[in-house]
């Protein structure tokens, strides 16, 4: 560059020096990439249009209004084979969300237990947790799904020989039957009471914090909150004349009647995703807790804080800062892995979409819907995560 500056201005620059200018070079590289990309897209588009014309497939999303003509195993909203393709996709989407949320809750619980277990001073617990993690982390999730589906649930007894579980639940090779709550009129008051209790708890804990800041006195927050959240709805339940009853499954001669049933597809997908993801969450939790330096808890002890409070006020908040970001990506992985449902025929988004794709041949549209839905889930989660991270980040002076 400095050589360029000293060249006489009237003279043409030598050709080499322009090509050696990183800015111009970068410009050329980008132009070439862009050109190649545009050519590639043009080539793909013309091919696609040609192919679609030959296969006689009209592009566009009009097909979503057509009659689906296939049944789904399990649906959260009213659906029959006369419903539209669009509704089938909504059913699939809701099923994806259902299994993802259920799996996230269970895997978090198992993962935290196992992760803390690995750090336990109890040798047996630590080793058992290690075995759990090493087994489930190194086996494909699809295999775990099949393990539950064709290995365990398929060899359970027939419905008439159902195995009885506690709380009036039954399990057989058609799935798990459990009591279904029936809400009569008046149950809306219970919900109202619950909402009031939650709002009241939030307000009370804020007030208690403020009071503690001012006076140093700590109010019994936990017991008050528990009393509110459990007590108020219970009170409303009795005040409204006990409006909730349970429709209990009863073992009949050939089949179970009454209650709700979740099929073996949902159960095996749910169990497999929970156990598989839990092994990863356990490792994240372990790393998070070990990431809090020992000096922190030693300092807390030196200040005379009790061990339980040290964990709650010193270790956990700092560990959560390390745990939360990878935990979120595990939740996303679980949601994406729920697409393995297609292997056992649980009607999730990919599975219903696959059926529609086979029936209509609208490959591009269906795949686009998949991509948009999953991308929306991922991107909204990572936005939420970034916000959370910024909020939790260490404020340094």
């Amino acid at each position: 560059m400095s050589i360029d500056a000293t060249t006489p201005s009237g003279k043409d620059k030598p050709a080499g020096s322009i090509l050696n200018d990183p800015r111009i070079r970068g410009f050329i590289y980008q132009a070439v990439t862009l050109l190649l990309l545009v050519l590639f897209i043009y080539w793909v588009t013309t091919n696609t249009i040609e192919n679609l014309k030959r296969a006689n497939i009209a592009s566009g999303y009009g097909f979503l209004n057509g009659r689906a003509g296939f049944d789904v195993g399990q649906s959260l909203i009213a659906y029959s084979s006369d419903s539209t393709y669009g509704r089938a996709l909504v059913v699939g989407f809701l099923n994806t969300i259902l299994v993802a949320v259920a799996g996230i809750i269970t895997s978090t619980i198992i993962g935290f237990l196992v992760g803390i277990g690995r750090l336990s001073k109890n040798w047996l617990i630590a080793k058992l947790s290690m075995v759990y993690v090493e087994v489930f982390r190194n086996i494909p999730p699809l295999l775990v799904i099949f393990f539950w589906y064709s290995g365990v649930l398929a060899v359970l007894p027939q419905p008439r020989e159902s195995l009885a579980l506690p709380f009036d639940m039954y399990v057989n090779n058609r799935g798990l039957a459990f009591p279904r709550p029936v809400f009569d009129s008046g149950s809306q008051y219970i919900l109202l009471a619950l909402v009031i209790a939650i709002i009241g708890s939030v307000l009370f804990s804020r007030y208690a914090n403020k009071k503690q800041m001012e006076t140093g006195q700590r109010m019994p927050v936990l017991w008050t909150v528990l009393g509110l959240v459990i007590g108020l709805p219970l009170l409303a339940y009795f005040a409204a004349g006990m409006p909730i009853s349970f429709d209990v499954p009863v073992a009949g001669k050939f089949n179970l009647t009454g209650g709700s049933v979740v099929g073996p597809e949902f159960l095996s997908l749910f169990l497999a995703l929970s156990f598989y993801t839990a092994s990863f969450i356990a490792e994240i939790v372990r790393a998070g807790i070990r990431g809090v330096s020992h000096g922190q808890s030693e300092a807390a002890h030196a200040l005379g804080i009790r061990p339980g409070l040290t964990t709650r006020l010193v270790v956990v908040p700092q560990a959560m800062r390390i745990i939360i970001p990878p935990l979120t990506s595990q939740y996303l992985n679980l949601t994406k892995n729920s697409s393995l449902a297609i292997a056992i025929g649980y009607s999730d988004l990919v599975s219903t979409g696959g059926t529609i794709l086979n029936q209509t041949g609208q490959a591009i549209e269906v795949v686009t819907i998949w991509i948009v839905v999953y991308l929306t889930l991922s991107l909204s989660t990572s936005l939420l995560m970034n916000w959370f991270n910024a909020k939790m980040a260490l404020v340094e002076r």
């Binding site: 970068g26 109890n122 040798w123 795949v367 998949w370 991308l375 991922s378």
Partner: protein, 385 residues
């Protein structure tokens, strides 16, 4: 009287006495590791009870009650199910796994030609082992042979059609062989591609950066099964009439592209951890961009993220099992296909086959993670603070 001495000085050493019995040997170990606190004691009791409930039936099912030999479903079914086992019997059907072992390894590859995948396997091991053992020299040559020459030779050996070898179409390939080919090619493609994508994402050129970022985020945001669907149903739409890809190749492309997006993020993590001074130092020495990356930045960055890279490899290895959904027969696919073999179908066959497949997958993944731990400790020397 006055000879009475009140003070006492011991002149000889007394023998060492044994430590208190509670502080010694296995009793002390149990007290310290299993029964330290009341809570610990309760947890230990719960764990022991759980083990006592779970382990004996599992061992009984896996080994004692298992039928190890036999030529058909008879040995794995009770009398009521049309077999020879007593009523209420349940045990693993290892006879099924033994009988189908060759199929699980090679799929429907012609029996007379199975020496070919075996030969490739031997070559692979012969080239892989020396590259894994740090002491053996000529790593560069070894890597070229393993990642450059071996794939080409293997391709021709496996598919045939040259040198008098009969042609074997990829639809006949199957079993562990397919799993290993998919993961090996996936690994060999995704690492360089991931590095390029990661460099592109950190590039100063906006167009390149945007392209790489879009690709990475797009692929990472969707499930692999969608990518495989795209490769199997959308790719034919994108290509001109008459131009087709082999199904196997399409799956390979899908898996490799998917893994390279994840690899890119891992490598980017390593690149971000390298202090800026390193790049500036390389610039001041007058190194070109690629020299700077190859000689200064990447060796440090890649070393930092070895655990992440191996984790991606393990993920890729496990993910290859998904190709069974788009109708290919990898290890899991072929095991599942054989459940329905009329000669072997019985209630315990699926579980036995899945336990076997799970064990094979587990062996490979566990081996990889152990090796990565070993490498990490080896490379970590001198960096501990």
């Amino acid at each position: 009287m006055n000879t009475h001495q009140t003070n006492f000085v011991r002149t000889a050493m007394i023998d060492q006495s044994a430590p208190p019995v509670l502080d010694k040997g296995y009793i002390a170990w149990i007290r310290k590791n299993l029964l330290a606190t009341p809570l610990d004691a309760v947890m230990t009791i719960i764990a022991v009870l759980a083990l006592a409930w779970f382990l004996p039936p599992a061992i009984k099912w896996l080994f004692i009650d298992a039928s190890w030999t036999g030529g058909g479903r008879g040995v794995c079914a009770t009398i009521a199910q049309g077999g020879s086992q007593p009523e209420g019997w349940s045990g693993a059907c290892w006879a099924f796994v033994t009988a189908k072992f060759d199929v699980f390894m090679f799929g429907r590859y012609p029996i007379d030609e199975r020496w070919r995948p075996m030969l490739v396997g031997i070559l692979f091991v012969a080239l892989l082992v020396p590259i894994l053992i740090p002491k053996i020299p000529y790593k560069g040559l070894n890597a070229i042979l393993l990642f450059g020459v071996l794939p080409v030779i293997s391709f021709f050996i496996l598919i045939g059609g040259v040198l008098g070898l009969p042609y074997v179409e990829t639809a006949l390939w199957g079993g562990l062989m397919v799993t290993l080919i998919l993961s090996f090619v996936g690994i060999a493609v995704s690492l360089p591609l991931g590095i390029v994508l990661a460099l592109g994402r950190r590039s100063t050129m906006p167009v390149i950066r945007l392209l790489c970022t879009t690709f990475i985020e797009l692929v990472r945001g969707i499930p692999l099964i969608t990518v495989l669907f795209m490769a199997s149903v959308m790719l034919p739409l994108f290509l001109p009439q008459g131009m087709t890809f082999d199904k196997f190749l399409r799956a390979l492309i899908g898996v490799s592209l998917f893994a390279s997006a994840y690899m890119a993020e891992v490598v980017r993590g390593g690149l971000q951890a390298i202090p800026k001074g390193q790049a500036e130092g390389a610039d001041s020495l007058g190194l070109s961009y690629w020299q700077k990356m190859r000689l200064i930045i990447l060796p440090q960055a890649l070393k930092l993220v070895i655990p992440g890279i191996v984790n991606t490899f393990i993920g890729l290895f496990k993910d290859t099992s998904l190709v069974s959904i788009i109708g290919m027969f990898d290890l899991l696919g072929i095991v599942r296909q054989n459940f329905s073999d009329a000669n072997w179908a019985s209630p315990v066959t699926p579980l036995s086959g899945l336990v076997f497949a799970g064990f094979v997958f587990w062996l490979f993944c566990f081996g990889m993670s152990r090796y990565s731990g070993f490498m990490e400790r080896r490379l970590d020397k001198g960096h501990k603070r």
